[in-house]
């Protein structure tokens, strides 16, 4: 936090309000379908990244299965609608529940693993989901994907759908902010920093890891449902392992374990491919290079490093002030 106390809260509230107003006004400022689509994807990706931030950024458990959960949500919601005529709200709900349930069931054995074993297990999970999307042609249509997804008539209006996406994204953001600024958030960071010490302080690590995992899966699933009804068409290509890697990369670049980092990461994921139109996967190269450089020189990411810098400045000024008013002794000469 850059400023403490009342000033800080006021500033943050003002900033949040401004952002909300801009978001609400956006469709009327520049109604261009291209930009609206971009903003839609921004909202959807924000949901995915905030979920990833909980399990990976805060709790420190490397999860390379986010794209899989995203896809599972998308397919569940769209297949229910297309094949069984389930209504939009129920389909969306199923899109959230299905990945969340999977995470709840598999989470316990998966999260017992650590480090690269955990990475491999989540890669395996994501790959199995992707393969199911590709191979189970009777159900999912295979590589062709699912066509003809229909929104309820009111939501055929793109502006209204934009508001739906962003309301959901903002609610998701508030959820994450609430959880991370209380004992939950501290428990997660404690687990990441030192699981043994966290346990010694009474934190049930397995429980908190599982909660984060389920939340991340649920949010990705919700994003998937919204995504499916946005484009009215989905195919397995959007849910491959590469996307999980891009998500992890942008999380780190933005600043894992910080809310601001999730936002920056989201912007990166959406904007970078647009800027690097050179050839289809060129943005992956750029992501990879930025990731390598960031890990090497500022592993806390953009937002994380900025916050540390401000905190350091604040500490130095406070220390100087304390010395000046005599409430802190001058540093002693080292013995």
């Amino acid at each position: 936090m850059m400023y403490e106390g009342r000033t800080g809260t006021l500033l943050r509230a003002a900033g949040g309000l401004l952002a909300l107003m801009l978001l609400a006004a956006f469709p009327f400022m520049r109604f261009n379908p291209y930009f609206t689509q971009l903003m839609d994807m921004l909202g959807i990706t924000l949901l995915i990244l905030m979920g990833l931030n909980l399990i990976f950024g805060y709790a420190g458990q490397i999860s390379v299965s986010q794209a899989g959960f995203f896809g599972l949500g998308a397919y569940t919601a769209s297949l229910l609608q297309v094949k069984m005529g389930v209504s939009f709200p129920l389909a969306l709900l199923a899109g959230v529940t299905c990945p969340a349930l999977l995470a709840a069931i598999l989470g316990t054995p998966i999260l017992k693993l650590k480090g690269y074993y955990l990475a491999l297990a989540t890669i395996g999970l994501g790959t199995m989901l992707y393969e199911a999307m590709q191979q189970w042609q009777d159900m999912t249509g295979g590589p062709i994907g699912v066509f003809g997804i229909q929104r309820p008539p009111i939501l055929d209006n793109d502006i209204l759908y934009y508001y739906l996406i962003w309301t959901t994204a903002v609610l998701g953001f508030l959820l994450c902010r609430n959880l991370t600024s209380c004992a939950f958030g501290r428990a997660w960071v404690a687990i990441r920093e030192n699981e043994m010490a966290a346990a010694a302080m009474g934190v049930n690590a397995a429980h908190y890891k599982l909660v984060a995992f389920i939340l991340s899966a649920g949010m990705a699933g919700l994003a998937g449902g919204l995504y499916a009804f946005l484009n009215r068409y989905i195919s397995p290509d959007s849910f491959a392992l590469t996307y999980s890697m891009v998500l992890i990369a942008s999380m780190i670049i933005g600043g894992a374990g910080t809310l601001g980092g999730a936002v920056i990461g989201t912007v990166l994921v959406i904007v970078l491919p647009e800027m690097t139109q050179a050839f289809a996967d060129f943005h992956v190269l750029v992501f990879g290079l930025i990731l390598v450089v960031v890990l090497r020189f500022m592993p806390r990411g953009i937002w994380g490093t900025a916050r540390r810098y401000w905190a350091g400045r604040r500490d130095t000024t406070r220390a100087a002030r304390q010395r000046a008013t005599g409430s802190r002794p001058m540093p002693e000469a080292t013995p």
């Binding site: 960071v189 920093e193 302080m201 009474g202 049930n204």
Partner: protein, 252 residues
Amino acid sequence: MSIVVEKVTKTFGGVTALSEVTTEIKPGIITSLIGPNGAGKTTLFNVITGFYPPTSGKVLLDGRPIHSLPPHRVAALGVSRTFQTALLFEEMTVLENVLVGQHRSLAGGFLASALGLPRIGRMEKKGREEAMHYLEFVGLGRSAESLAGSLPYGKKRLLEMARALASKPRFLLLDEPAAGLNNEETASLGGLITRIKEMGVTVLLVEHDMSLVMDISDHVVVLNFGRKLAEGPPREVRTDRQVIEAYLGEED
């Protein structure tokens, strides 16, 4: 009201770290666990706090067996500990570290936390005030907003103690709290531990610093090669034949 260690044996592969150790940690006093390096002191700590299950034997708290409970459950029963190397949450502030110590009382339930209900905010505020008290108790009041990782070593150890105290334990287990401290810091640590005892917390400490042990302990247990060698008041133990032999050349 006490912790009873009953014939605890712990083997790792072919190595026997503890062998039929039996003792009782009586409430309200300071007990020190001493012994040459490798005697099994930290292993015993780990068994009591649930980090290792004993190969055989039992650990009872108020008559209830706790040796098969995971560490967080043992902690919830009022047994807190510090570690040989201060295991802090480096990327959190000093204050936040202590707040984790208060986790049991601050954890507010998922729905309430997710919705950001005012009750959670009130709990947090109270929690922070309490955390400041603990920090001031150990002398870290001014460092509350500093990053835990940036503290000098001595202060890190104090922070670990503050964090452990914040969980309002009945039993506080300190693993070599004086390691790396100079004489002045050790003396001040002794005063701190005595004040903790006066607050009603039972203290069990593993220590190598004999002057500290003899100074503040009410009861001393000696381990060697995983076996209990002797136990009793400090004066008795220091003159015990076997203890002297075990320590030949090690006393400072």
